[in-house]
Amino acid sequence: MEAYIRGVGIISPQKTFDTEEFLPEVVEYSNNSLRCMEPSYKDFLNPTLARRMGRVVKMGIAASSACFKDSGIAMPDAIMTGTALGCLEDTEKFLLAIIENDEQFLTPTSFVQSTHNTVSAQIALQLKCMNYNFTYVHKGYSFESSVLDGLMTIAEGNGKNILVGGHDEMTDKYYRVCDRVGYWKKEMVPTMQLINSKSDGSVAGEGAAFFMLSPEASDKNYAKLRSLKFIYKPENQQEIESRISEMLAEKGLTANDIDLVIYGINGDARYDGIYNQLKDSYFKNSTAAYFKHLCGEYQTSGSFAMWLAARILKSKSIPPSVLIGDNRHTSIKNVLIYNSFMGTDHAAFLLSQC
């Protein structure tokens, strides 16, 4: 199961939307909660409709629109998206209304918008796209499931232009709630210091990133997505390494063939050891990069990483802000992404130059 990445569209805490430039400068944060740089939505939605939509729905519509434009595809053969938390803002709105008004005087708008499948549904509705439509909601596997489905759909011969994506939003309240179970750092850690942090917890993030997958070669393609593996609750480092070895062997590769590894390092002392051990031993000859200082930690952050890998492979350049150490390779042919969310849902992606 393989596919080309034909087009991308991404809204993130960095300047990634509506720009040809590839991370020209780092937008720095020091409040432990990175929020997206949102575009003006009037180009994508009529204002009446936009007013009724939650933030993540608008981000999803705009980022997917950018992906359609970038790939030159007006109507996808299938739409599958991943979101761990769904439409958090509207969920909270309806929840609070129930609590504060003791289940009275409620209106349906926020309930209707709160359903987890709102983004993929709204994309379909805007396009009048009656094709296959799925929404995955599995924590750190939400986006990964959508990509796997995209690869399967292509392997089945059920489509040539498959929209996959990940989207999650953070709210002030949910940040506070997750803080109670140790998700975030207690001290404020600025963006470029995250990798040096030695304390527990990470910084919160969010984003919406979409990709058009296609079975057809083209000059426009960013990269070839060659493999995706789920490694659920690995028992030890050895299990992680043997699963990665298997994955590479299926493609006739070894660790030495991987020019660049993009790690999900998030500054959390509880989990960064896994990445560092891969970096320092199994992938000791590969160039190393990370990304969560730029987008924050969130369940669908794999989508930011896949965008980063695709852009690196297309532009044949690595932005200095994501490098750990030196770039040891003159050309980048094979990229592996290793990411996990809170130590349970690990995943590895393999992408190659077209």
């Binding site: 761990a84 289940e103 209707v112 995955y136 349970t344 849902d345």
Partner: protein
């Protein structure tokens, strides 16, 4: 794509029973699970009937095989109970023997707990072991609890496409087997009642104040329910030597692309999903012996689904019923629960009655089956599931041709 997908196990819990045997008893005695809400402190409890599982969370914890210090959401507990029954009924003793996955589905995940604790979560003055429920809010958390309880490690995922969620988890599992990615998958869904969904559907004014009446001209809406339904599907190789309940021959997914919550009047999305399911199965509409309809009892669903059925079957709609007057509409779980019913219909050659139907809908050519029909020849069952966001899905279960 000649690979077959066999059903080898089923597990269910809903308002009409905590397992398959109790469920069959309730059907036999025509006993609906719809009644008064007891396990949620809602101001609507006397006015909005629901189909609640007849057990407290403590009782469910014990039924799931845990001691009282195991704490999880009702959604996870219901799922664990049904998934364990499914695994047991498939005769699986070593879950690692084959590459095994779990694909669950849910609409609101751990909301039943979040809605009670939300204000406490935000109050840093308050603390307690209830803080552990924060992480159980996410839909995927119940799936991981189910997966860990039965030892699944090779693949886990969760789908939320509103009321079609668990039909889609069944479809994804079947596709993964056909693609050779997994040898067997436990597929289905789980959802518990919550104030969130009761009030949400109430604001949409689609909750019947009495027992729901699917496909009745005077239908007034749906009754919400809760529960979980899981089935075990296996590749031919993995199922070898086992009792095969039936074959999953068809599946289809489409989008109505008409409105965020309402179905199109002509049921275009529903039609497309069924059409795709027929195409995958290689069957024709005339082959279907029984349809387990989505049939929620809302004005819009039943007209939309009925219109699509009339078109699909050329007004020669086979025996059809909605089992939602028994179980209520269990949202993200209904595709899994109704898959279990569809499989049992084939196993026992029977058709469930559509309760509470009195008045013929003028717009439709068919009347749902009103009596419990036994001694039928049921070889192919079509099961429909449709949801908010235009998500439409159809599954076809068929009597397995090769008994081994």
């Amino acid at each position: 794509m000649d690979k077959k997908v066999y059903v080898t196990g089923i597990g269910i819990i809903s308002a009409i029973g905590n397992n398959v045997a109790e469920t069959l008893d309730s059907f036999n005695s025509l006993e609906s699970g719809v009644g008064k809400l007891e396990h949620i402190a809602s101001r609507h409890k006397d006015e909005i009937p629901v189909a609640e599982v007849k057990a407290s969370n403590e009782e469910l914890t014990a039924m799931a095989g845990f001691s009282s210090d195991y704490k999880n959401t009702r959604t996870a507990l219901l799922g664990i109970i049904a998934a364990k029954e499914a695994v047991k009924s498939a005769g699986i003793t070593n879950i690692r023997e084959f590459r095994t996955g779990l694909i669950s589905a849910t609409s609101v995940g751990g909301m039943g707990m979040t809605e009670n604790l939300w204000m406490d979560y935000l109050d840093t003055e308050k603390s307690g072991d209830w803080l552990r429920y924060i992480e159980s809010h996410e839909c995927g958390d119940s799936t991981e609890a189910i997966g860990d309880s039965i030892g699944v490690k090779d693949f886990l995922s969760t789908i939320s496409t509103a009321c079609s969620s668990s039909a889609n988890s069944i479809m994804l599992g079947a596709r993964m087997i056909k693609q050779g990615l997994l040898d067997r998958v436990i597929v289905g869904g789980t959802d518990s009642l919550s104030k969130f969904t009761i009030n949400g559907f109430n604001t949409l004014m689609i909750l019947d104040r009495e027992h729901c009446k699917p496909f009745d001209a005077q239908r007034k809406g749906l009754n919400l329910g809760e529960g979980a339904g899981f089935i075990v599907i296996e590749s031919e190789e993995a199922a070898k030597g086992k009792e095969i309940l039936c074959e999953l021959t068809g599946y289809g997914n489409a989008n109505d692309a008409y409105h965020q919550t309402a179905s199109s009047p002509d049921g275009a999305g529903a039609y497309l999903a069924m059409e795709k399911a027929f195409s995958v199965s290689g069957l024709r509409p005339a082959d279907i012996s029984y349809i387990n309809a989505h049939g929620t009892g809302t004005e819009i669903n039943d007209l939309s689904e009925g219109t699509a059925l009339d078109r699909m079957f050329g007004k020669k709609v086979p025996m059809i019923s909605s089992t939602k007057p028994f179980t209520g509409h269990t949202l993200g779980a209904c595709g899994g629960i109704e898959a279990v019913f569809s499989i049992l219909a084939i196993k026992y050659n029977m058709v469930y009655p559509s309760l509470n139907h009195v008045h013929q809908m003028a717009e439709l050519s068919f009347t749902p089956v009103k009596e419990f029909k036994k001694n039928q020849q049921i070889d192919h069952v079509l099961s429909n599931s449709f949801g908010f966001g235009g998500n439409t899905s159809a599954l076809i279960f068929s009597r397995a041709k090769i008994e081994n």
